[in-house]
């Protein structure tokens, strides 16, 4: 489904991702764990086509198609979704208006206002959000938790094939984390894949990954099953640095 080969990414001349390979199959949930500054968020943003990063080498394909040639909206139409770590505030644009525009764009057909309203109500119920929330301006004045919930609400509305979640768990209390996890598990199935990018192992208790990768200094340095996450929790990132850090790598 998603295939990344030898990916190199720069921002302002600094290389952040330094030859990364990853393959995510249909229906699989992968976790990418790593310390701050390892390039996790860069990877997430690049997958969706963030304008500030430069891809200097390598390839990203989604369902066999080269996505590096595609605009972010075209990637979304193919079924890719990014839950942002820091979603933008868009003053004057209500959540409802935004979601209507997004859903109609991705589906490439207009839902009737009634169908749209029902869909929104249903998904908001899953996320335990008040319907009044939809009238607020997109992310403006939202608390950290509200922003994250809103990201997952968008994901449920757009029903992607692949969700990339950029530290969606950070800054959430346990209740909010459970709601977010519930949203993701709602989509889980043979047609849905996800890449969960996180610093902590905590979210993986609620969304069980098929594979866990550890990212360090712009590369995936080791991979394993979900037990790798437990190991990381126990030994910490210092252990990773000692085992796989630049000093020990050729």
């Amino acid at each position: 489904m998603l295939k990344i080969e030898n990916l190199h990414v720069e921002i302002d001349g600094n290389e952040i991702v330094k030859g990364l390979d990853l393959e995510v199959g249909k229906g699989e949930i992968h976790a990418i764990m790593g310390p701050n500054g390892s390039g996790k968020s860069t990877l997430a943003n690049v997958l969706m086509g963030h304008p500030r990063y430069e891809i200097t080498d390598g390839s990203i394909t989604f369902e066999g198609e080269d996505v590096l040639e595609l605009e972010p909206d075209e990637r979304a139409k193919m079924g890719m979704f990014l839950a942002f770590q820091y979603p933008s505030e868009v003053p004057g644009v209500s959540v409802a208006n935004f979601l209507r525009t997004a859903v109609n764009s991705v589906r490439e057909e207009e839902l009737s206002p009634m169908e749209m309203y029902r869909l929104l109500q249903e998904k908001m119920r899953v996320m335990q959000m008040d319907v009044k929330f939809a009238e607020r301006y997109l992310n403006e004045g939202f608390s950290g938790g509200e922003k994250k919930r809103n990201e997952i609400l968008q994901m449920l509305m757009l029903d992607p094939k692949l969700a990339i979640m950029d530290e969606t768990d950070s800054g959430l209390d346990i209740d909010a984390l459970q709601i977010v996890a519930k949203g993701v598990n709602e989509l889980r199935g043979p047609e849905f894949s996800a890449v969960i990018i996180t610093h902590y192992q905590r979210i993986l208790r609620y969304i069980e990954p098929d594979r866990v990768h550890v990212m360090l200094d712009g590369r995936l340095v080791t991979s394993g099953g979900k037990e790798l996450a437990d190991q990381l929790e126990e030994k910490g990132y210092d252990w990773v640095r000692q085992e796989f850090g630049a000093g020990t790598q050729s």
């Binding site: 969706m48 086509g49 963030h50 304008p51 500030r52 605009e71 972010p72 909206d73 990637r75 979304a76 139409k77 979704f81 990014l82 942002f84 979603p87 933008s88 505030e89 868009v90 003053p91 004057g92 644009v93 208006n97 935004f98 525009t101 997004a102 764009s105 991705v106 301006y137 997109l138 968008q154 757009l158």
Partner: protein, 455 residues
């Protein structure tokens, strides 16, 4: 009025003392007004044409315009029913706000007016300004030129000397007009149009009044010239919502001065929209004349191609305990220029003044558009709350990325951002028809070739 009866001097050549006299006599005006017009003409001749060396005209170049050379008067047919108005005007009416009274100025003459029976019975007057001079001379004489006098500036002098057409709205004491009153100015000739608006809202009354300016001209047509003056008198405890919607064709030069005076506990909500014209200069002065008066001043402009849209505002706090809140927002693209110059002036003794002023500009694309924003404070009282702010920025690429990542194409994402930007203004206008009209106009401006350029 048939074109044949119009004196030659009004139809050819420009404005002159002879023309002013002929106009006044043609309109059968009282002697005081003829004198007033002639005085104003002298003032016009005395005042120099503003240049870019003048503080108030530093960014807007009008040096190659000779305003007095435009044909000053173009007649238009009187019509007895709305269905006889030009089709384009009927369309404006259909797409406009629901109204309880309507007046149409076609070129230099009022061609149609109607007032609902119920309003007439309550004493509400909406009529041609010249007709009002006969039918309501006392009130007109008392107020006309009271707020935009001939010596306000060169354009006001020209207006006082050579105005024709124009509208007069009178709302008697305590009368609340619920459905808005609408005026249209339609210009399908080259030459000039010099309408005046005179609104008198008596104590405790309330009304919404909309002046809309439109014409079919394009950049290819000969230049036309619009010179307006708007005087808004709002009595004690009265409420006026005033909208000026300037959507002229691209061959028009638009100059307008809108001045209001609010008595004790009166409220004025103004909205000034500038979308059309080649060059537009609007002065909006709110006089907070008595304690407890309140003025909300909203502005919305969108400049494209080589348009120049210039707004000068004044929040004039003359009395204590008054409140004013200004928000002007503009979008710019291509090689356009927008100028905002706003002054909060607090006169000595106007303690407990509460005054705010915000101007925000959004530049679309990476073109050569320029926004000039000049907020100023002049405070001569010590116990006041005043603040001002201004920002000019481009559409944020990261914000666009966020929207696009949800499947929304760039142009649509940009539309959302621009609509969101203007939403802060439009959400404060409780007029549905007007809002829809603005949305369509904004959408049209964003769509204008923007798609090709960003691709």
């Amino acid at each position: 009025m048939s074109a044949n009866s119009v004196p030659e001097v009004l139809r050819d050549g420009g404005v002159s003392a002879e023309m002013v006299k002929a106009l006044s006599s043609f309109k059968d005006e009282p002697a005081w007004l003829t004198e007033k017009r002639l005085e104003a003409w002298q003032t016009f001749e005395r005042l120099p044409m503003p240049t870019m060396r003048d503080e108030d005209w530093r960014y807007t170049d009008i040096s190659d315009i000779s305003v007095e050379d435009f044909v000053p008067y173009t007649p238009s047919p009187d019509v007895t029913s709305e269905s006889d108005l030009p089709e384009a005007v009927q369309k404006l009416i259909r797409e406009g706000e629901e109204n309880s009274a309507l007046i149409v100025q076609h070129n230099s003459e009022t061609s149609y007016a109607r007032v609902e029976e119920e309003l007439r019975e309550k004493g509400v007057v909406l009529t041609d300004l010249h007709a009002a001079l006969t039918e309501h001379e006392e009130i007109v004489r008392k107020h006309l030129f009271g707020l935009v006098p001939e010596d306000y500036d060169k354009f006001a002098a020209l207006s006082a000397a050579a105005f024709s057409g124009g509208s007069f709205l009178y709302v008697p004491r305590g009368v609340e007009v619920e459905v808005p009153i609408q005026s249209y100015r339609w210009l399908d000739a080259t030459g000039s149009i010099m309408p005046r608006t005179l609104v008198v809202v008596e104590e405790g009354a309330s009304v919404t009044y909309i002046d809309e300016y439109a014409s079919p001209g394009t950049e290819e047509d000969d230049l036309a010239f619009s010179n307006g003056a708007v005087e808004l008198f709002v009595g004690e405890g009265a409420r006026l919502r005033y909208v000026s919607l300037q959507n002229w064709g691209r061959n028009v030069l638009h100059f307008n001065t809108i001045r209001s005076s609010a008595k004790k506990d009166a409220t004025i909500n103004s909205l000034v929209v500038s979308l059309g014209s080649e060059l537009s200069r609007t002065n909006v002065d709110a006089g907070l004349a008595e304690p407890g008066s309140d003025s909300e001043m909203l502005g919305l402009y969108f400049a494209d191609s080589n348009q120049v849209l210039d707004h000068h505002t004044l929040q004039d706090h003359l009395a204590p305990n008054a409140h004013s809140d200004l928000l002007y927002k503009g979008a710019l693209r291509d090689e356009s220029l927008a100028v905002f110059s706003g002054l909060i002036r607090v006169e000595p003794g106007a303690q407990k003044t509460d005054a705010y002023q915000t101007n925000r500009n959004l530049i679309l694309g990476t073109d050569d558009a320029m926004a000039v924003s000049l907020p100023r404070l002049e405070i001569q009282a010590d116990d006041v709350k005043c603040s001002h702010g201004s920002t000019t920025g481009q559409v944020d690429e990261v914000e666009l990325f966020y929207l696009m990542s949800r499947g929304i194409p760039r142009v649509e994402a940009e539309k959302l951002v621009v609509f969101g930007f203007f939403g802060e203004v439009t959400s404060r206008i409780p007029l549905k028809g007007l809002k829809e009209k603005l949305d369509r106009a904004i959408e049209g401006k964003i769509g204008l070739g923007f798609e090709e350029r960003v691709a």
